[in-house]
């Protein structure tokens, strides 16, 4: 899954540690999500979306090949 977390965090001038504190997770988890090594659970994705006041799908997008074919 692709995500825009790093961009959104930069727009708000937040460090990974500050974002991690706001989300109640470790800095390593924020880094793993940003680098695409870890896809967050739905509750955490909602929390991220709420924090940045955006819809989940505007932050997280599925990889093109994982989308169902028409």
């Amino acid at each position: 899954m692709n995500n825009r977390l790093r961009v959104l965090r930069a727009e708000r001038s937040l460090s990974q540690a500050e974002l991690a504190d706001a989300l109640g997770v470790s800095r390593q988890t924020v880094n793993a999500i940003e680098t695409g090594k870890y896809d967050p659970s739905l509750p955490l994705a909602f929390k991220i979306a709420q924090l940045f006041e955006r819809a989940i799908e505007s932050i997280f997008q599925p990889e093109q090949e994982s989308l169902p074919h028409e």
Partner: protein
């Protein structure tokens, strides 16, 4: 790391280390006693005493894992799975080799083997997501 997470990690370290010290002390004190001239039932009772601090350590590990976030819990879960499977495989293979003449492996080594594998698997899991 947030204050709550730091406090949980600190509490875990202190309680886990205390349990391990208690375990070491009971082993050092009770093993010579259990080798002495005592009735069998009292020797068995003495050698079950070190299990208590190990139980405390296990409960502290559980409490700590519950305080972790979802990625950290996933790393711990995978580490426990890997350590469990490898411990089973290693002891099973050793058991087969015993039939071929290898000396019997003391059962008391199973837990340290699991702990070592669990530690190694956790370290590898943490590096994967770094």
């Amino acid at each position: 790391m947030s204050t709550a997470r730091l406090a949980a990690a600190r509490r875990y370290r202190i309680r886990f280390l205390s349990a391990m010290v208690a375990y070491a002390v009971t082993i050092l004190l009770l093993v010579p006693m259990a080798k002495g001239d005592l009735p069998l039932w009292s020797k068995m009772l003495l050698m079950l005493v070190p299990v208590v601090p190990v139980l405390v350590a296990v409960s502290e590990i559980l409490r700590y894992v519950r305080s972790l976030d979802e990625l950290e819990q996933r790393v711990q879960f995978e580490a426990v799975c890997v350590a469990g499977v490898l411990t089973c495989l290693a002891t099973f293979a050793w058991g087969l080799l015993e039939i071929a003449g290898l000396p019997k492996m003391p059962v008391v080594l199973v837990l340290p083997l699991f702990c070592a594998l669990y530690g190694g698997a956790t370290a590898i899991g943490c590096r994967r997501f770094r």
